[in-house]
């Protein structure tokens, strides 16, 4: 996922554990573990990645695990290896077969049929 322009990006490698609050202006790609709060424009949780705490982002792509709170203002994609537990807020969601969600889902719905 490493693009040529890495300005404003956060990459957490496998095995790395970060604790605290992080504000990322662009892409956050997580292969390790984050405990705490993460806010980024785009969040990618890789298959080996785990986030325990609060995740906020425009688009969030989960191949790993997110526990506690997730808020996606644009699109949330849970891949086949992904697992999200806790309170989930989203505008648009896609779950691939094999992906899991447990907890409360809330739509930030502008249109309701």
């Amino acid at each position: 996922m490493a693009e040529s322009n890495q300005q404003g990006c956060l990459f957490v490698g496998e095995g790395v554990v970060l604790k605290g609050n992080f504000i990322v202006p662009d892409i956050a790609s997580i292969s390790g573990t984050i405990e705490g709060e993460l806010s980024a424009k785009q969040v990618i949780v890789e298959a080996s990645g785990t986030i325990r705490g609060k995740v906020t982002g425009e688009s969030i792509d989960v191949r790993g695990e997110v526990v506690e709170y997730l808020n996606s203002t644009n699109s949330l994609i849970i891949r086949s290896t992904g697992k999200v537990t806790g309170s989930i807020h989203y505008a648009e969601i896609e779950i691939e077969k094999g992906g899991h969600i447990f907890g409360d889902l809330h739509t930030a719905s502008h249109s309701n049929s």
Binding site: S75, E92, I93, E94, I95, E96, K97, G98, G99, H100, I101, F102, G103, D104, L105, H106, T107, S109, N112, S113
Partner: protein, 147 residues
């Protein structure tokens, strides 16, 4: 709105509705509704799907060992092997099934093994599932748990 506690009573109401209120609507639900009391139901698995057509509203309990296609409205509780809720379809109440494909609207308690939510579907309520697949654009709200 409707009572889940007296399904027998509702079945009678619903049967009245079928014959009197909506004579034009096509409903193959009658045979499945009769089948509730039939002991041979488990032994024979109907191959043809039971259909609740568009514009048809059913209030009561549906039990089927086969497939159920819902393009109309069902208020009450549904137990079936496989349920398809079409784009125009709407289910309010309890829904227990192995395979559930939602293209329309489901509001209530859902228990299923395989859940597939289509791109324009809307689900709200308590959902217990084994496997889930939500296509992009599908909207789900409520509590999600694993079976």
């Amino acid at each position: 709105m409707f009572s889940k506690k007296h399904p027998e009573l509702i079945i009678e109401d619903a049967t009245d509705n079928l014959t009197e209120d909506l004579p034009g609507a096509i409903a193959e639900v009658l045979d499945t509704a009769e089948g509730v009391n039939s002991p041979t139901l488990a032994s024979r698995t109907p191959r043809k799907p039971s259909i609740i057509s568009e514009g048809f509203e059913f209030v009561g309990t549906i039990t089927s060992e086969g497939t159920l296609n819902i393009a109309g409205v069902v208020k009450g509780s549904i137990t079936a092997k496989s349920v398809l809720i079409d784009v125009e379809g709407r289910v309010e109440g309890e829904l227990t099934t192995d395979m559930l494909m939602v293209k329309g609207v489901v509001v209530g308690d859902v228990k299923c093994q395989e859940l597939n939510v289509g791109p324009r579907a809307f689900m709200d309520g308590t959902v217990a599932y084994q496997n889930i697949h939500i296509q992009r654009g599908g909207r789900v709200a409520g509590k999600f748990t694993k079976n």
